[in-house]
Amino acid sequence: MFQVPTIADLNLGLTLPALSLALGACVLLLLDLFVPRERKEITAWLAMAGIAVSFVLNLAGFNESGTAFLGTFAADQFTGFLNIVILITAFLGVLLSLDYLKRAKIERGEYYVLLLLSAAGMMFMSSANDLIVVFIALELLSIPLYIMATFRAPDLKSEESGMKYFILGAFAGAFFVYGAALVYGATGTTNLPEIFAAVNGIIAAGGSQMFLLLMGTGLILVGLGFKVAVVPFHMWTPDVYEGAPTPVTAFMSVGAKAGGFAGLLRIMVVALPVFVLKDGQTAAAWQQTFWLVAAATLILGNIVAIAQTNVKRMLAYSSIAHAGYIMMAVAAAGTAGVANEATRAALLYLMAYMFTNLGAFGIALAIEKDDGSDTGVDNFIGLAKSKPALAAMMTVFMLSLTGIPLTGGFVGKWFVFKSALDAGLVPLAIIGVLTSVISAFYYVRIIVNMYLKDGEGDPAAGATRYVNWAIYVAFAGTLLMGIFPWIATNLSDTVVLAVEMFVR
C-alpha cells in the first residue's frame, strides 16, 4: 500500500533555488497586472530581484546535497554549478531586453514572467532525477521560449520563428516521451538511480529488454539533442535564431543548451554509465552514437557558418558547432572512469560559452535597428571607428569563440579536448582541433570587418545603458575565465555527480 509521505519527506529546503524562482514568476505575473503600461521596467527590476534571491539561495545551499520530492529531484553541486550559469544567463537576458523591448515597441510584462518560468524550467532540469521530471522541466523551459520567440508579432519573421520552433519542438518532445516510455518498459522504473541499478540485470539478460533500452536511449538523445541543436536535429536553429527577437535568441542560445545538456548529462552519467553491450567493455553502448553526432555537428556547424552573411544566423551555426564541442565531452563521459572529468569539462565549457555568446549577441543587438534590421556581417564594418570599445569587446568575444588562449573559450576547449583524449576518443579530438581552426575564418571575418575595412561605422544605437552593463559583465566573465581559469575550475572541482552519491 502506498505510504503517504509527510511534508518533511519532500525535503523542500533543497529545492529552494528552483522553487523560489518558479514562485517568483507566479507572483510577478500578478504584480505585473498592477504595473502601469508605460512603467514596465518595474517588472524587469522585480524579475531581476527574483533572480538575485534565487542566486543567493543557490550559493547558500551550494554544498548541500541530497534528494527531494521523493527521489525525483536531486540537489548536488552539479545542480549548483549549472544554476549559477542559468541564473546569470537569465539576469543578463533581462538586462539585454529592457531597452530592446522599448525600442521595438513590444514592451509587455509577461515577457519577464515567461523568462523567469523558462529559467525555472532549466533549473528543474539541472536537478531532475527522474525521466518524468526531465520531461516536465523540458516542457517548462520550452513553452515560454516558443512564446518569447513570437514576441515581435506581427513581425512575420518572428511569428514564423516561434511557430516553427513550437511545431518541431513538440515533434521532438514526443520522441523524448517515447524514449522514456521504452526505458520504463525495459527497466520498470523512471527513476534514474533505479534505472542504473536495473541496467546490470539487463546486460546479463540481453535480448528484447536490451533492445528496448537501446531504442529508449536513442530516442532520449533525439528529444534532448533537438533542444541543444546537434546535427541532425539542428535544422530549426538558424531560422528560429534569426527570426526571434535578439535578446530572446541570446537567452535561448545559452539557456536552452544549458538545460538540454543538464538533462543529457544527468541521464547518461547517472542512469546509463555502465550500460554496455557485453560485460567487460569499458565504453558505454551509446558512446559510439554520441561520438558520431558530435563529429557531424562540429563539421557541419563550422563549415556552414562560413557561408552566413547575417550575424544572428552565423551565431546560430556557431552555436550548433559549440553544442558539438560540449557533445564531445558527453561522449567522453561514456568511457568508464572519465565520466566525472568529462562532466566538469562540459560544465566549464558551458560557463565560458555563456559569457562569450551572451556578449556577442549583446553586441549584435546593439547594432540592430529598431525594426530588427541591420544584423548583417557587413554592418560591423567600421565599428572600430564609431564604437571602439564595443569593437574591442567583440574582438575578445570572437577570439574566445575561436578558442584563443587568455579567453574563456580556450579554457573550455582545453578541458573538453583533454577529456576526449582521456576517454580515448583521439579522432574526435583531432576533428575538434581542426574544426576550431576552420572556425577562425568566420570569427576573424567580423574582426576584419570592424578594424580593417573602410566604411561608415554603425552608430550602435542599441548600446544603451543596460545593454552596455550586460556586455561589460559578459566581457569581464570571458576574460576572467581566460586569465584566471582556476576561479571556475576550482568551483567545478567541487562538483560531485549524483552517480557517486547514490550508487557507489
Partner: protein, 119 residues
C-alpha cells in the same frame, strides 16, 4: 514486470474501441445506403458548396474553450483526490493547495486581463 497490473486499463481501452466501432458499423449496416454524388457533397442548404469549410471565427470562442478545458481538468483531478481525501490527510490538502494556487494565479491573471468579458 507485472503486466497484469495493467489488465483493467487494457480492458477499458479495448471496450471503448469496440463500442465506438460497433456504433459506426451498426448504423452503416442497418441504415439504407444509396449514395449519389449530390448526396456526397458537403451540405450547404441545397446550394453548390462555395468557399472553404473552415472559416475564421472570433478568437473569444477559443479562449472560452481553453478556459473550459482548464477547469475541466481541475475537476478531473479533484474527483479522485476527494475520494481518498481521508487517506492522504494534511499532505494531500497542502499539495492540492499548491495546485489550486497555481490555478488561481492564472485565473486572476485572465480575469484582470479581461479574458472573461465577452465584449
Amino acid at each position: 514486470m507485472a503486466l497484469q497490473e495493467f489488465a483493467p486499463a487494457a480492458a477499458l481501452l479495448g471496450l471503448s474501441v469496440l463500442v465506438a466501432l460497433l456504433v459506426v458499423m451498426l448504423s452503416r449496416l442497418l441504415g439504407p445506403h444509396r449514395p449519389t454524388s449530390r448526396k456526397q457533397a458537403p451540405y450547404e442548404s441545397g446550394m453548390k458548396p462555395i468557399g472553404q469549410a473552415v472559416r475564421r471565427m472570433p478568437v473569444k470562442f477559443y479562449l472560452v474553450a481553453v478556459l473550459f478545458i482548464i477547469f475541466d481538468i481541475e475537476v478531473i483531478f479533484f474527483l479522485p483526490w476527494a475520494v481518498v481525501f481521508r487517506d492522504l490527510g494534511v499532505y494531500g490538502l497542502i499539495i492540492m493547495g499548491v495546485f489550486l494556487f497555481i490555478l488561481t494565479v492564472g485565473f486572476i491573471y485572465e480575469w484582470k486581463k479581461g479574458a472573461l468579458e465577452w465584449e
